[in-house]
Symmetry: C2
Subunit: 489 residues, 2 copies
């Protein structure tokens, strides 16, 4: 006799109805080979008694299994496990091959992705002060205003349609004010058709790289450079050509020299505040790079992720606003302007390119985050974003100056750096000590910082970016004190 009581597992504390638990457990046992095809089940009354459930409950379970085709009734003979099911070898209880134990490993071959990029995963739980890279101070963000906009989608009847399927290019309701904003603030004479809303700058980069590159296409990036971008371009098939970045930005002579030898498909630049060194590309190099692009017909990705934050003059017009030949693909984001969790970014480019980017986005996800798009559109329209940028620039300028003073006064000759004209980080070179050791020691003392290992796998700059924007003046002092103590230990 089959030990149904042992086989069929019932848990009266969970929300799943009893009859379904019984039905599902019987299915699992069929799959495990404990209840074989053609097996005659005991009568409902007997089985109900054995499982200590009401007979009606048991009958519902049997009906369910009959409806699904796991069991079948033969007239005047009884209820059987369906004979058409395949023969199963019985597996041991609790073995890794039991359906009650989820498989530990995949039963097919797995390819490694090796996207070895920077992880911010622990930022939510890290109780340390954090100066890894630069990110906005979430305490300053206009969250209440954002939530008010979010609620309006429910409250305003004409907004209800936005709960429906939307446009993978991003809703026009956001692209319209964004296009005006970019025109007024960055001199981009664009229309909403030139914009696609992406999930942060990274998606803009991913889409662009994967659309432009096929295996073996030559790409130029700065050295040192933004490792995540390089990795993204590489994974999209690009062959990476590294060009030195000096105090005037990426070396355009070197790019020209490469163009004379190879067919270059794409140049990736961060002209406003180069990552990692924060330098700004000079006007003459900008214009020469644009001229080169027009001559050799390559695309320029202009990554301008922290446009808003420039402290000693107004932000510099992007190269895209000087592009007369349609070579520049301009990538921006609100992630640094508001809070990291708001993943609204954008790509600006000639319309025929944006159309293809939109199709590629559609292949990854049907649409972006419409509800957030509508809310952000509201914040543009009522001036909240413009005001927030003004306020942030004022506060971050003070924080930059204070942080640089602290580095200067407390660490003196231990480090060297240039005061950055913009952005959220200082590029700090360590004149003494080994940065990974210092970072590990600082972490234990309450300060989380990058160990600088990710800027290049082969070259050790013994330097890292330190973010000054998310810590207030007191926190900055504590952070630099910890760093000093980590360096002397």
């Amino acid at each position: 006799m089959i030990p149904f009581k042992a086989l069929i597992i019932i848990d009266k504390t969970v929300a799943t109805p009893l009859y379904l638990q019984i039905a599902n457990s019987i299915i699992q046992n069929i799959r495990q080979g404990h209840l074989r095809r053609g097996l005659k089940l005991p009568g409902a009354r007997v089985l109900a008694a054995e499982l200590n459930v009401h007979r009606k409950t048991l009958q519902m379970a049997l009906d369910e299994l009959l409806a699904q085709g796991w069991l079948e009734i033969e007239a005047r003979k009884g209820t059987f496990v369906a004979k058409a099911l395949p023969e199963m070898k019985a597996v041991k209880f609790g073995s890794s091959q039991s359906p009650l134990v989820y498989p530990e490993k995949a039963g097919f071959q797995i390819r490694k992705v090796n996207f070895r990029s920077y992880s911010f995963t622990n930022f939510q739980t890290d109780k340390n002060l954090i100066i890894t890279e630069g990110f906005p101070d979430i305490r300053l963000a206009p969250i209440q205003e954002l939530m008010r906009e979010m609620r309006s989608i429910e409250r305003i009847k004409s907004f209800r349609k936005y709960f429906h399927y939307g446009n993978p290019q991003g809703t026009a309701y956001l692209r319209e004010p964004l296009s005006s904003f970019l025109n007024e603030t960055r001199g981009l004479p664009i229309s909403p058709e030139n914009i696609i809303i992406t999930n942060g700058a990274q998606m803009g980069l991913y889409l662009t790289a994967n659309l432009l590159l096929t295996k073996g296409d030559h790409v130029v990036v700065g050295e040192p450079g933004y490792f995540t971008a390089t990795l993204t371009l590489e994974r999209a098939g690009g062959v990476i050509n590294r060009v030195k970045v000096d105090e005037n930005g990426i070396d355009v002579d070197a790019i020209e020299a490469i163009c004379k030898k190879k067919r270059i498909r794409l140049v990736y630049v961060i002209p406003h505040h180069h990552l990692p060194t924060t330098v700004t590309l000079t006007p003459e190099r900008r214009m020469r790079l644009l001229n080169l692009a027009a001559k050799y017909k390559f695309a320029i990705i202009e990554d301008d992720y922290d446009y808003d934050f420039h402290y000693d003059s107004s932000p510099m017009l992007p190269m895209a606003s000087l592009d007369t030949h349609g070579n520049v693909i301009y990538i921006g984001t609100l992630t640094k302007t508001l809070v990291p969790a708001i993943r609204i970014g954008f790509v600006v480019a000639p319309r025929n390119f944006i159309e293809e980017v939109t199709q590629m986005r559609r292949s990854i996800e049907f649409q972006g985050d419409t509800l957030m798009e509508i809310s952000i559109a509201g914040l543009y329209k009522n001036g909240v974003i413009a005001n927030h940028i003004k306020k942030s620039v004022r506060i971050y300028r003070e924080r930059r100056d204070n942080f640089c003073n602290l580095l200067q006064n407390k660490l003196e000759d231990l480090v060297s750096f240039q005061i950055p004209e913009g952005g959220m980080c200082v590029w700090v070179r360590f004149n003494e000590g080994n940065l990974p050791v210092i970072a590990a020691s600082a972490y234990k003392k309450g300060l989380t910082m990058s160990d600088g290992s990710s800027y290049n796998e082969k070259v050790n700059y013994n330097a890292t970016r330190m973010g000054f924007s998310s810590l207030n003046l007191n926190e900055q002092e504590k952070a630099v004190d910890i760093l000093k103590s980590a360096m002397s230990s």
Copy 2:
């Protein structure tokens, strides 16, 4: 004398400060070749008068340009356009090469994406009744409850951390209740590590396909099948093998025959309610397919996007819950359960596969929509989702029955269909008439429906899916009346 008044465009109605407008306009003119390198500018007083702005405003503009490096001062000689800038050929005003006109087309070669998939783009503006595919009735969705959860992220202090960078696998705060929910409702004995939250089911499919497939890998899909999935698999490099879907689901004998001839990497199935025909894969075929997967070590993508909606019995346990060898990659979504604009989907698989999927997701975007994830977690925890599913199933069952009755009574022999056991659509074959013509006529009369052309490029089924879930009983009657009138015209 240079006509500065004509060159420098100022618009006092826009928000950009005047001095910045002047500065940017001068930069544009340098780029256009109208103000050449080495050109001496008139004195600030003269230029201010010509442009009819305050002298201080003009001085601010010049300071800005000096700071950025576009201009330079030579002691006792005056202010010049920087000599280091490259020589530019002057372009005509208003020409497509003027930076004041955004380039119409890209200056580099563009690859076509040709993701010819279904577009839902117009659903937000379409005033017609819509029966294209099946989608939830947004009037039933628990939007107020969702907004309450969303607001709690701002209100509850311990939630503030979620504004920070998060985990590309999706926040554990959602994966935990989701894992319990899937365990209780679908018999999936998983833990949160077996889940990645994606942007809808499509991202799950994209990630999985691109992770599993390299160019030339053999893939099996059903015929007729879900065109968007086939396209996604194809674009990821898969060679598509089409296998007939009959009234019992995909033909497993045919899959076995292929396995004997070729190395199959992946089988894509929608066992619960096949798209488009809505049939359910029988238990014996499920078990045989699982056995084949274990034997030939291929992966099964089980797309279960409308799991919740099964009307004549409880939803069938997914194949994933019977998978003892780790072959099944299970894809689900809340898009059909709540509203299309909420793009929360998930993939369930053995942990070593989910780890790679997470890295690949990170390469596309740093993280998903954390704020929505937290809100949805709240709706799981307080039972709103479970209740909403119960309510929807009740209403949609009535709508299914009513819609099928209307088709039967009003269209009689013009169409044939099976009453679907679940999902949101009926697969309707047109016995007479040409579906694209009928659909075009219906559209003009106020009914938007698919013309059936997308299920296969080569085979004309003269059939389409009609969604019954989003229209109430009155609307359904109107819709079928329009359809009838379109068929007789």
